[in-house]
Amino acid sequence: MLDVVGRNEETAAGIRLELRRVGRWRPLLLLHSEDALECEAPFLDLLTADREVVIPSPPGFGRSERPDWVSSPDDIAYIILELIERRKLGGIDVLGCSLGGWIALEMATKEPAAFSRMALVAPYGAKFVGPTERDIADIWMLPPAEVTRRKWFDPKKGERDYKAMPEERLSIIARNNESFARFCWEPYMHNPKLKHRLERVRAETLFIWGENDGIVTPAYGRTFADHVPGASFAAIAEAGHYPHIEQPGAFMQCLRAFLD
C-alpha cells in the first residue's frame, strides 16, 4: 500500500493532466510506459521508501485529456516540461520507461537543465538502421503471442486478468492503447529528428536494459547510449522489456547506485 501524498490535476498547455505523488523526500519524476504497469508494480514500493515519486499521466493516458493537436511524444515533451516548471521541479531526477523514456529524452534535448539524472528503461524514440530494416519490433503487426514472448522473459509475469477488472479500469487501459497508437504509429515508434538532437542532453544518463528484450534489443540500447554524451549502459539478466517488473531487486540495485 503506497502512501498517496496526493492525486490531483494540473493544467499545462491548456490540457488537464492527472498527477499522482507517492512516497517521501526528494522528488523523482516517473514517466511510465505505454502500459502504465509501473504504477502498481512492487519496485515502486521500494522506490517510494525514500523518494517522492511524481507520476503524471501524459495526454491521452490515465484520466488526462487528449486534444486533437497532440500527436507525438515531441508534443508531450513540451507539455510535461510546462508541468515541471509550474510545480517548480526543475532539475529533478527522472525514471522513464519505454514510451516514458522516449518522452524523457525529448524533454532532455529541449531543456537541458530539466533533469539532473536521467534513468531510461528500454526507451523507444530513435531509429538507427535503413529504410527496409527494423530495430524496433512491430508490436502492432506481430501476432499477440509473439509480442508477449518478446516482451517478457517469463510471460506469466505479463499476464493480466482483464475479466476481473472493473470497467473504469478497462476503459483507461483501452484508451491508453489507443493513445499509444495515436502518438507512435508513423513514423513507427521513433522521431527521425531525435537522434540528431541527443548531443544536447546534459543530464547524467543511464540506459537500463533487460538482456532478453525482444522488442528493442540490448544492441539497440547500446547504440542509443553511444549517442548520448557520457551515458552509461547496464543490462539486467533474465528480464525482457520490463526489467523493473521482472527483476525488481536487481533493477533497484542498479538504479540506486546511479541515483544515490
Binding site: W140, M141, P143, Y162, M165, S171, R175, W185
Partner: protein, 388 residues
Amino acid sequence: MKVWHFTEMPYPYLPPLDEVSTMWVSLPNRIFDPKIGADLYERYLDEYVIADELGFNLMLNEHHQTATCLNAAVPLTAAILARQTKRGRICVLGNPVANRGDPVRVAEEMAMVDCISRGRLDAGFVRGVPYEVFAANTNPTQTVERLWEAIDLIVKAWTTHDGPFGFEGRFTHRRAVNIWPRPYQSPHPPIWITGSSDFDAIRKVASRGYTFATFLQPHESVRKMFDAYRSAYRDCGLPGGGGMAYMPLVYTADSEAEAEKGAQELSWYINVKVEPQYRNPPGYVPVALNVKALQGAYAGRTAAIRAQGLEFQKEQGVVVYGTPDSVVAQIKRFHERVGGFDHLLMMQQAGFLDHQRTVRSMTLFAKEVLPRIAHLTGVAAPVGAAAE
C-alpha cells in the same frame, strides 16, 4: 429498387486453409500466379459486361494486399467499365480515402470516370476495413477524421469552378486545387458512404444527403440502421428520401439443391482467415468496444455472423439463395423487415464460384427475379396497411 452486380474479384487458389494463417496483409504474393490472375481479371470484367447487358447496375470495391480481392485500384476497373459498358450505373464503393492520402487525385480520377461514362458514376467513399491500415499505414486512431476531411476536400474540388483554392487541413496540404476535368454530373456524382452500427456516422451521412450502404448484416441490425438514416434524413428537411443500400450474397439457380451448392461457394467470402491483430488495430473502434474486446466479448463486427451456418445466414438475410421464386420471396421479406431500401447490391460471385455458374445465376436473376422486385422502394408498406 436498383439492383447491382458485384464481385470482389477473389484469387481463391491458395494453399490448404489450415496451412494459411491469413489471407490478408502478409500472405506472400508468390502465391499469386500472374497468368491465373490475368485470366481472373478477364473473367470478372467479362461478367461485369454481361451484367450490364442483362440490365444490372455495376458495383466495384477496392482492397489491398489480400487474396480476397484483386481490385487494388478501383479507379482503374471503373474506367474499364466506363468504356466497356453502355447502360448500367457504375458505383465505386468505395474509394478508401481515409487510406489513400491524396484526396485531390481521387477527385480527378472520379471526374474522369464520370466523363468517360457520360455521367453514370456513383462515387462512394469508405473508411476501409481494419486490416487495410497495415497496408496503407494509416494511423488507425484517425481513420474517421481522415475520411471526412478527404470527402470535404473532394466535394470542394468537384464543385469549385472559379479557379484554384488552397487547402491546409490536418492531413492534406494543397496550394492550388483546380481539377481538370470536372465531373460530368451536376453538382457531382451521387455520393455513397458505407457503415454499420455507428449511428452518429449514419446520421451524418443522411444529413449530407448521401446514400448509406451496409453489407452482410442481420436484418434486425439493418432495420435499426435504416430507421436511423430515414429519421435523420427527414429531420434535415432534404428533398426525396435519400438512399439506402444493402448487400447480401446472392445465388439464383434452377433448383433449391443447386442453389444451396452455389451459396456454399459464395460463403468462401464470409469464412475469410485473418490474423487476430489485423482485425482490431488500436483505436479503429471506440474505447467502449475495446473494453468488450479486453473482456473477451468482442471479436470484430462480422465474427458473430461468421460463426453461424448457411441456414441461419439465410434467415438473417445475409445470404439469399434459391430458385427465382424463393429469391423473390426472400428479398421481399428482407425489404419489409428493414422498412424498405433503395439499392440491392448483390455479391453474385465469390470464392471458387466459376464463370458458368455465376453467369447462369446472374441470368436467372435478371430474367426472373429483377422484374418482380424492381418496384420496391425505400419505404416498405407494412403488410395490410397503406404505404406512407
